[in-house]
Amino acid sequence: MGNKITINPITRISGFLEIQVEVEANKIIDAKSSGMLFRGFEKMLRGRPPLDAIYFTERICGICSTAHSMGSTLALEDILDIRPNENDKMIRDFMHGCEFVQNHLRHFYQYTFPDFVRGPEIQPLYNVTHNDYRLPEELNKELSRSYLASLEYSRLAHEMLAILGGKAPHTHGIFVGGVTVNLEAAKWIKVKSILASIKDFVAAQMIPDVYTIAEYYPDYFENGVGYKNIMTYGVFDTYVKEALFYVGPQVFINGELQNFDPEKITENIHRAWYEARQIEQSPTEPTVEENVYKEKAYSWIKAPRYEGYPMEVGPLARMCLSGDYTNGISTMDRTIARVLEVRKIIGIMEGLLERMEPKPPQQGRYAFSGEVRGRGLIDTTRGALGHWIATENEAIQNYEIITPSSWNLSPEDSEGVKGVVEKALIGTIIEDLKNPVEIGRIVRSFDPCVSCATHVLSDRYSPFQIRIV
């Protein structure tokens, strides 16, 4: 029996997460990732009008609401069997791109940075409990200025989204059939000029900044590796033009690339606070009932599996599968890939802007009849997002969502297979048991979003905090 270390809250993420590890001779031998928040969106969605799913599911997450508008819209379009015209689709994809840029800027500077760079001397950005800051003073000062400067650019990324979508977060402009904005030249050039200023910041600051961090923390290329099984549902993948194409759906398991088959996705509730007839279900089956007092359960997050495998999803998975990143899989690689992906996405957004035309959106009036099922699978900022909807006439009959953070933060399943973050923690050497900075750094490299994982909590009976025996 080793020492137990519990960190709760893991701050600088969206939502509430507890990480508990067991350490023997400074090495993590077991890890538990526990989501601490449950709101039950899938239950709420039952009986509501299908079209309302778009604005309703956005409210799952204040950080990545656009992701949910994309997932729900694609699922509804699947049910209605309609496709947006090319121009509207390009505008919609551009809007989705705004969220990638905004999220990655915020995550890198406001959430990741304080792990490696001593912050600007403003409460509570500055207060820390460890001393593993390695940047020389001058360099640290320079990077801490980037922290402040970045806020302007993440704000501007949301401004682009609002120009096209009304407001952000919780934008209105993404809808079944495409978009609602009437794109005219003034909007187009406004967005184009903002994108240019963000592009400059990314090239001049963000990319050099991540390589500076990598230089001073080279040991983070060695930890946080995980299973090396990665997956994407694809994003920006409906274009033939190479300049607009990013990555198509695919999985990489045990060193082999495979075609992606959505039928192979299951959810396992063995260690999650739910009861159901079967321990493992497909996402099209009815939702489970929660039980916060369930024995041996430790999370609100279910365990999604692909053919039984826990899959890492996110920027690194995409950049590897698209061939844009080849350095490897680790804590630092994950962070570098996220930063490089911003440049990649901006390039695609520029290509979309070049091709879109200023004209009114093509919207229709939509009606639902009969019993129909649909799904919307797409990669979003944090990885593979799936919305599965069943409608019966004008009402939602069943709704199931598997978020990227569910893939990454899942608990152990009934086969005893650990989740992705848990696996990435196990084996890590903790230098200073009183300041286990490695844990937060590894966990944050996945950009966890517990608000999204909607089904998330913790081990109620385990010892608290950092208890060194």
């Binding site: 969206s14 928040l37 204040g62 950080i63 509570p124 609002a162 407001k167 609602t180 905090q465």
Partner: protein, 292 residues
Amino acid sequence: MNDIPSNCPMIDSKTITARKIIDLAIEKIKNASINKTNLIWLEATGCAGNIISLLNAENPDVIYLLDQMVTLKYNNSLMAAEGEAAFQQFLDTLETEFILVVEGAVATKSDGLYTVIARYQGDLVTAMEAVKMAGGKAKYVVTVGTCASYGGPSAARPNPSQSVSVPQFLNQEVIRVPGCPSHPDWAIGTIANLIAFGMPELDAQSRPIIFYGITIHDRCTRRSYFNNGIFATKLGDPECMFKLGCRGPVTRTDCPVRQWNGYVNWPIEDNTPCIGCAQERFPDGMEPFVRY
């Protein structure tokens, strides 16, 4: 307030803007006639969308807010500290004079275990406990966002986490700054008013009148279409959204004149209906959001 109130709420709200209040607050802080107040921004049962929206603020931006207006002691999204050390900062602040901002509703099911925000000395701390602890000691309690103010999406039927609003949970005066999310000007403007001038003028639901005094419909940029009976038949149309289920007539915010994200746009100008996201019965009472 320096301005003499007229009898016209529309003129008042244009002249007494958030910007003006903030400028005056900053001046007072600079003249050292008021001290920087401690502030806890507590995330409860919600989506963290209001702190994300706050980060979109400009003039003042969030750095100015933190540097010049308040001392933010605790926030899950932004603070550098983590684990018990982070929560210790929350507890220490309770012994000082502070403003409590809550975003997110209060989940009450199973003793609040549906939202756990920390672990302290071995015990889980639920959002429910944290709101109670801080609410009783705060100089002011401000709810930012519709979940904290009214229950909002977190309390949508069948309300699986048995979430309630902060005013319903705490038996004390609470200032409501609703919106899904709340506009950063509404949040910062309210905080500025509190630190520089004390309690702002509130309506019957404890919302600052400067932001929530007039309905969207009254100032809608498409009002003339409504008056002339010209209605949109689908999203994307340029006319009045009333017949598609627009909730502008019952929603009291200044969205049409303030606008969002750099003041560039708002939902109706994006050719979609207002869904009443700042109102008491959002979302259940505002459905269908789009009526075809």
